[in-house]
């Protein structure tokens, strides 16, 4: 990344068309270490073969957990309960702030109490099919099976799930599914689950098994003898860079959706922890699988800092429509029925408004791009509750969605009980993440991953209410089994000496990275570059992607990266709280990850789930290519100057035979 070429010479260069072969080499096949039994039996079989650690020996093992969302707080609390010596790191002031708290709609669990014919097998079918066959069947089985205990556990530790009048747990339906298996607490399910988990972690902090390090941001992994043995963090208040060593490191640091600049994610959510782990040898799986949520509040002004999600659960009782006339600026309540196009209901009669997110997003974007958008910027469609209110009464609607309606009114000044909501698609969740085997261990032994930071369960598209589930299943009922199995092999070995050269070398690298940012003599703050990056990705790597567009994007990203290092300025000092410095580090990582995201999208020569390639469609629907692309791409960090290396884990389907998705 030299900053030698100046703008003038740049302009003279004709854009060079790059082909995928100039960008990447194909690496090796990967083994997910999935037991060779029927997928339904895989988790039972795996657990049976795990090694155990004697209760007396557990406190001798030092465990690092990064992140305190559902996956992180769950893992830390569960390992603490078992007796391990856990250090928990978070860049927040309190563990409860983690972004899991903002999830709204619910958590799936195939407890199958009703007679609507739900079952674990059906859950797996929905999840695998919803993910367009680009995730492991065995992972989906674990998700369904452990999902039953998740509801019991989260309820027992304080999550006040909605109840029927008879006192039993209430459920509702969600997109992509024809049964009612979503448990919820109004529109704030994530909050109740996150509070329960964070408070369970607090219980372990009080008990002394977990030590909490708040306002500490992880900036690197310490790898020694091919194993992850610690992390380097920056204390966000004092600015001090320090290291912590352990027997095992678990990253539960969330997704990278904020790479798009304005997404529904919290402002501080970022990719730095997983990206730095990637640069130390972990593989990055399917970075191009990014979910665009269909129902977010559209941008309404220049300074609007983010988009806000409106839960998918609203699609249960809300109907999506756009006017049949272009640029129709009439008050929506005055537009007669026959001039409204309920496009999801008409195009997908079987699923209607509850089609999966990717299908809904593409259809909404299609309407907006075709000129039928509504609102001051014509960048939205309507989500209308009139029929729902007529059918159920305003009280039922209020009980189900009051806080969402309240939030909408707070943000827009409009009352959704009376006027239809305006909604538009927004980046929301990343199915891609660090590649891990069936035990959730990454390509670096001793480095585990949980929750959205990883790639498991969701394939190319996540079903609504499956993310709270995956965070909980990883945290409470997967990592507490698989991490001890790894630790058992290290019995008798002390954690890495903090004075070891690997520790000081990694700290030096981190400090050098910070100094490079602080010393850069540029003229724009990091946000300036982030905004530009977001615009590139929004245009070329969003709901639909073309090879030409992606090639252009890669060129633009490379240019922007050079511009960043030439022209970024970071005001303030490194030895105190400095948000600009934090942002600059995160944006620098996004500028690298963005290229990989586009290379992956260009490489994956098919449409699958959220990855929709304009050159692979049939009648506007995604055309998968199972012959050539039925695998997980797991990218490996190349030597400096080398091409991106794409390893692959082949996927096989036994329980849910491969078939084209069809929601019509």
């Amino acid at each position: 990344m030299s900053a030698t070429s100046d703008k003038q010479t740049k302009q003279k260069e004709a854009p060079v068309a790059v082909t995928i072969d100039q960008l990447r080499v194909v690496g090796k096949p990967l083994d997910g270490r999935v037991p060779d039994v029927h997928p339904r039996e895989a988790w039972t079989d795996r657990k049976l073969h795990y090694n155990l650690v004697n209760p007396n020996n557990r406190r001798k093992f030092k465990v690092i957990v990064v992140g305190t969302g559902l996956a992180g707080a769950g893992t830390a609390a569960a390992l603490g309960e078992l007796g391990y010596d856990v250090d928990v790191f978070s860049f927040h002031d309190l563990p409860r702030r983690a972004h899991s708290i903002a999830a709204q709609g619910g958590i799936n669990s195939p407890r199958a109490r009703k007679v609507d014919n739900d079952s674990i097998d059906r859950f797996v079918k929905d999840t695998v099919k919803g993910g367009d066959y680009r995730g492991r069947e065995e992972d989906a089985y674990r998700l369904g099976e452990e999902g039953i205990r998740v509801i019991n556990h989260m309820q027992a530790i304080g999550a006040a799930f909605a109840r029927e009048y008879g006192g039993q747990l209430a459920t509702r339906s969600f997109g992509g599914v024809q049964v009612s298996r979503t448990y919820y607490t109004r529109g704030q399910t994530g909050q109740q689950l996150e509070l329960a988990a964070a408070h369970a972690l607090s219980r372990q902090v009080a008990a002394g098994t977990c030590k909490l390090h708040s306002r500490q941001e992880m900036l690197d992994v310490i790898v020694k003898d091919g194993r992850a043995q610690g992390i380097v963090v920056r204390d966000l208040v004092s600015g001090k860079v320090r290291a912590q060593t352990a027997h095992v490191v678990i990253l539960c640091t969330g997704g990278y959706g904020n790479i798009y600049y304005k997404a529904t994610l919290a402002k501080n959510s970022n990719a730095t922890a997983i990206w730095r782990a990637y640069k130390r040898g972990a593989f990055f799986a399917n970075p191009c699988f990014v979910q665009i949520h269909p129902t977010a509040l559209p941008l309404m002004s220049k300074w609007q800092s983010k988009k806000t999600l409106m839960s998918e659960s609203l699609r249960n009782d809300g109907r999506i429509w756009a006017p049949r006339k272009k640029n129709d600026d009439r008050d929506p309540n005055t537009i007669p029925e026959n001039e409204r196009f309920y496009f999801l209901e008409e195009r997908y009669p079987a699923f209607g408004n509850l089609v999966p997110r990717d299908v809904a997003s593409r259809n909404i974007r299609e309407r907006i791009d075709a000129g039928y958008g509504v609102g001051p910027l014509h960048n939205a469609v309507y989500l209308d509750f009139k029929t729902g209110i007529e059918r159920l009464g305003v009280n039922v609607i209020r009980e189900r969605y009051s806080n969402l309606f309240h939030m909408y009114e707070e943000l827009t000044g409009e009352d959704p009980y009376k006027t239809p909501m305006r909604i538009a698609p927004s980046v929301h969740f990343t199915m891609g993440g660090l590649w891990s085997d069936y035990d959730q261990m990454t390509a670096i032994p001793g480095l585990f991953v949980g929750g959205e930071a990883g790639w498991a369960y969701h394939g190319a598209n996540r079903l609504g209410a499956n993310s709270l589930l995956s965070g909980c299943v990883d945290g409470w009922f997967t990592l507490p089994y698989s991490v001890p199995n790894y630790l058992a092999g290290l019995l008798g070995q002390p954690a890495l000496d903090p004075k070891d050269k690997a520790v000081s070398d990694t700290m030096k690298d981190v400090q050098a990275g910070l100094d490079r940012l602080l010393d850069n003599d540029g003229s724009y703050g990091p946000d300036h570059f982030h905004e530009k990056l977001g615009a590139i990705l929004d245009r070329y790597a969003s709901v639909s992607r073309s090879p030409e567009g992606l090639t252009t994007a890669i060129g633009l990203i490379r240019e922007l990266r050079e511009e960043f290092w030439r022209d970024v300025k970071v005001v303030g000092e490194g030895d105190r709280l400095n948000h600009e410095l934090e942002t600059a580090g995160r944006v620098a990582d996004y500028l690298e990850l963005a290229e990989l995201l586009c290379v992956d999208a260009l490489d994956r020569d098919e449409s699958a789930g959220a990855h929709f390639r304009t050159d692979h469609e049939i009648d506007g629907e995604a055309e998968r290519n199972d012959e050539d692309w039925c695998f997980c791409s797991a990218w490996q960090y190349p030597e400096p100057g080398g091409k991106h290396i794409r390893n692959f884990e082949p996927l096989t389907f036994r329980a849910v035979p491969l078939q084209q998705r069809n929601y019509k």
């Binding site: 609390a77 006192g167 369970a200 005001v571």
Partner: protein, 250 residues
């Protein structure tokens, strides 16, 4: 819109602080107050000045990270709305808006508008949890909870942990916060075995770090989660109830 921003600047917990005045000339009514601070910081960075340190995260009113006083009122002029949901439209052209950190002895300033609210978590650590280890819970349908109890529990469980109640209180009390947790857990059957113990330990920790309650009620007006003032009664009720338990306090 033109607004004058008076912002509290303080380098650290022990440093002297002072107000700094800035002008924003291109504010718009639909901006949130946090976006107004974003705008200010953008301007400061352009002029090579240190941006104002303030905290925020989800910006949709659920994470509780944002916490600052606006013209002396926690979060801003509108009752029961977090700072991220407060808007410039509450002010008039040319008006002065004063930003200060949450004001409470238990919340020391970290930098500028950021305070240390870990005291809130220590109340939870003292006992605001249910002692059930992973995997040991009974089937969630075996303990029935009435619809109304679940809904009422949720009214209290909605607390976002921002600490506005403490900043609003002239005494710096954390009764609303503590009471919300006590009421939430008292309304569901899980963890009822620990109810008295929980009340004693949480209230003791609350009194150790935070001020006493004089039933003024500012807290409930400031609370972005609209926790009802009833939460304060819950503190007293749970304390009284724990006192009548014949089991030895521990």
């Amino acid at each position: 819109m033109r607004l004058i921003l008076e912002v509290w600047r303080q380098d650290g917990p022990d440093a002297e602080g002072s107000f700094e005045t800035h002008e924003i000339t291109d504010a718009t009514p639909e901006m949130s107050l946090l976006e107004l601070l974003d705008r200010l910081n953008h301007q400061l960075v352009e002029n090579d000045q240190d941006p104002v340190a303030f905290e925020s995260d989800c910006r949709e009113g659920i994470c509780g990270t944002c916490g600052l006083d606006v013209n002396g009122v926690p979060h801003g002029p509108e009752d029961n709305v977090p700072a991220c949901g407060q808007h410039v439209r509450s002010f008039t052209d040319g008006q002065t808006v004063r930003f200060t950190p949450f004001r409470a002895r238990s919340f020391p300033v970290v930098r500028d508008l950021i305070v240390d609210r870990t005291g809130l978590d220590r109340i939870i650590q003292a006992g605001g949890t249910i002692s059930v280890d992973a995997g040991t819970a009974p089937d969630a349908d075996t303990l029935l909870v009435t619809h109304d109890d679940a809904e009422r529990a949720l009214d209290f469980a909605a607390c976002i942990g921002c600490g506005a109640c403490v900043s609003a209180c002239p005494n710096g009390a954390a009764y609303l916060y503590t009471g919300a947790k006590l009421a939430h857990l008292a309304l569901i059957p899980h963890g009822k075995e620990e109810r008295a113990k929980r009340a004693r330990s949480m209230i003791a920790q609350m009194q150790h770090e935070f001020g006493p309650c004089s039933q003024i009620g500012e807290c409930a007006l400031a609370c972005p989660a609209e926790i009802p003032l009833l939460a304060i009664a819950a503190v007293n009720r749970e304390r009284l109830r724990a006192g009548f338990k014949w089991r030895k306090p521990n």
